[in-house]
């Protein structure tokens, strides 16, 4: 009986661990008198959420990849490529819907190549996706002729607007898209056979194969989904910048991975959650936001985020150690 209760407590801690971290970060800035007013404003929360959209979309796919025991270093390049593709298509006169679809599709294709190469060549994801990082970035620059692509303003550019056009939306459409997909992916991970297979591949790939799981197919699907989310993130990047910029989001893949890890994802595979990753994204966004308000230089933010990752992962490690 007490074992059961302890189990529930453990479970609650697992879910709320990152959440407590988020509240802690918000509370710290909320207690600093100089920025208290500005920081706690609803408008500020909205803008933090809007700034989180791109990393959050990347993290949705990355969570699957990390749980399966892999890594996707090409995420940020893929985002840049998709933003360029969307801009290029719309600039060339394609209807906005087609531009958006094309961006997402190209992102998915890059992911599909990642998954196929990893499974067919039997190479580690780090190597393949690191190579793809260069390939996708290069392709983006090539297509864009090594400069920004201007595109006419369309509804696409309102996806990231802080004050959305139909005002009853309250928040940028991009935020709603993230929330919707987060719910879908959480259900997929926890309640579908595919989700179960993602965990199984990350926990023990040989055991998964022994259980009749088509591990190669699962992995290709995982990287394709990650690519599709990067494509969508790229569209959001284009929406925000109103141009297709092949040099955007350099290094963003590390922010995405950091968010997943802060949220309880294990690079050894088998662990992670959508909710955790989303909280990880918010922790990083609020930190950046608060630091900027304090007028702290960029390097301070970088140091703080580095420290936060170490603290989050050690706490996680400690908790697991206790459990075992």
């Amino acid at each position: 009986m007490s074992g059961q209760r302890k189990g529930n407590l453990q479970k609650a801690l697992n879910v709320f661990g990152p959440f407590i971290g988020l509240i802690f970060v918000i509370a710290i800035f909320a207690l600093i008198p100089e920025i208290q007013d500005r920081f706690l404003r609803v408008g500020n929360f909205k803008s933090v959420a809007t700034q989180s959209v791109i990393v959050a979309l990347g993290a949705l796919g990355m969570t699957l990849v990390v749980i399966s025991g892999g890594i996707d270093l090409s995420a940020a390049s893929n985002i840049a490529l998709a933003s360029v593709i969307s801009a290029y298509a719309i600039n060339a006169g394609a209807p906005p819907v087609a531009g958006v679809a094309l961006g997402i599709l190209v992102g998915g294709m890059v992911g599909f190549f990642n998954g196929s190469l990893i499974t067919k060549l039997r190479l580690v994801p780090f190597i393949i996706t690191m190579s793809m990082m260069g390939i996708a970035r290069g392709a983006a620059k090539w297509i864009a002729g090594n400069q920004k692509i201007d595109a006419p303003m369309t509804w696409v550019n309102e996806m990231m607007a802080k004050s959305p056009r139909p005002s009853w939306l309250l928040m940028a459409p991009g935020i709603w898209i993230v929330i919707a997909f987060a719910v879908v992916m959480a259900v997929v991970l926890r309640r579908t056979v595919f989700g179960r297979h993602v965990f199984a591949v990350g926990s023990n790939e040989s055991a998964a194969r022994l259980c009749g799981i088509r591990t190669d197919r699962a992995k290709i699907l995982i990287y394709t989904i990650s690519g599709l989310f990067c494509g969508l993130a790229g569209v959001m990047e284009f929406s925000r910048l109103t141009v297709g910029d092949p040099t955007v989001a350099v290094g963003l893949e590390l922010d995405i991975i950091a968010a997943v890890v802060i949220g309880g994802g294990s690079l050894n595979g088998g662990e992670g959650s959508i909710l955790g990753s989303m909280i990880g994204v918010l922790i990083m966004s609020f930190l950046r936001n608060g630091c900027t308000m304090m007028g702290w230089p960029n390097y301070i933010q970088e140091i703080i985020i580095g420290v936060i990752i170490i603290v989050a992962v050690s706490l996680d490690h400690l908790r697991h150690h206790k459990e075992a």
Binding site: R196, S206, A207, L210, C211, G212, I213, R214, E271, A324
Partner: protein, 504 residues
Amino acid sequence: MTDNSAAPVLRMAQVSKTYGATRALDDVTLEVRRGEVHALLGENGAGKSTMMKILSGAVAPDSGRMFLEGRPYAPVNPLDGLRRGISMIYQELNLAPHLTVEENIMLGRELQALGWLDRRAMKARVREVLASVHHSEISPEALVGKLSVGAKQIVEIARALLNKSRIVVMDEPTSSLSDEDSARLFEIIRGLKAQDVSVVYISHFLEEVQKVADTYTVLRDGRNVGSGTMDGSSLEDIIQLMVGQKFTEMFPRVPHEKGAVAVSLKELKGVRMASAVSLSVAKGEILGIAGLVGSGRTEMLRTMFGLDALESGGLVVSGAATAKAAPWTRIKQGFGLLSEDRQGEGLALPMSVADNVTLSANAPYLRHGLLSLARQQKAAADWIARLNIKARSPLQKVQGLSGGNQQKVALARLLHQKAEVLLLDEPTRGIDVVSKAQIYEWMGELARQGKAVLFVSSYLPELIGVCDRIAVFYRGGLVDVRDAARWDAQSLMAAATVGRAPGV
């Protein structure tokens, strides 16, 4: 107590250790004399491992004292224990596969000259120590990852010997060794005794213990329930001490009847098999597969299941010929494989009991494409009860279970997926006597239900005790198949070690 009046080289007195709510060791006393082989016996979870962890210095006891050659001994960590002359050889080999034999043996004790590694001196030391265990054929330059399991075991032992140990602890040293390698190990143990080194020997193979040990101590539920000399005790006495009750039947038999042919192998040859094999197994039959490690038994099962690529030939499954197939196709055809590598391949250790049991057949829990977690857990709870698995709940992670219970979870997965042809590779390796008997009983029950069971084992008595027919592999090929009644331990051993057996 023993008739040896010499003072013990090691005395662990009134040692207790509690983990959370579990009392792992309760006031246990253990005495080991100089130059003796002392068997530490008990079921899984009896406290043997905790006892040895305390001895090595990996774990500190809550209370109790230890004396080494009369002097107080309280190691703060394993290195400390090593320095005082206690070496551990674990069941899972602790070797670095990418390093050479020499580098592994000298690891942490590298010889230096003027700050540079003195390779020549180290190689000489390694050659010396390998020669002392009569294994000079192992090259110091060989990569450990490329050695056979038996040779790796020798490297582990060599490392322990280099340490000038007073006491060598061997935890299930033969569980992955062939009989030939085991015999060599016993030779080495006799050599250690001659050098006045004491050995604490942990094993589930009681016959082997009887051969190699001088004295024994039995632990049950964290208590010392008896010690004695091997000469003065029968196996039955020891088993009874271990299980705490009168142990009625080592090999419980469930009557079953042989039916139509379930699967036949037609000149089946996988890429890792030395030669093609033709064999068939019927519904309601337990077919034993004997042979040394590396004789091709495991490779045959893996080829049948599609885990190893097929080179030629094929399988006839309930009348229909099938050639190449992947594991998921074989599962659909009713096959289920229990891996010999329980932790590395058989189970997803970080996942729950419920997930592991249902992993290969999720379909019954799907409602509109979504898994019903409640139903899944209920089904798992059902299997936990049926196989008498000691787990706190279906949500407990498999890594927290004992070896015997982990194996039952792996077996439950095959039963849950309703496998009709069960390929069981060393299903009783490293698990306790009671769990073993339960698994034998389940195999009989499966045969009674008309399922075909292939049972690979290195332990001949269990093959003879459980199987209807036994096939023997030797050097990659099938040499003989007979009814179990027409085999005995000698003829099986002869077939497995020289490739032919006298007719019975």
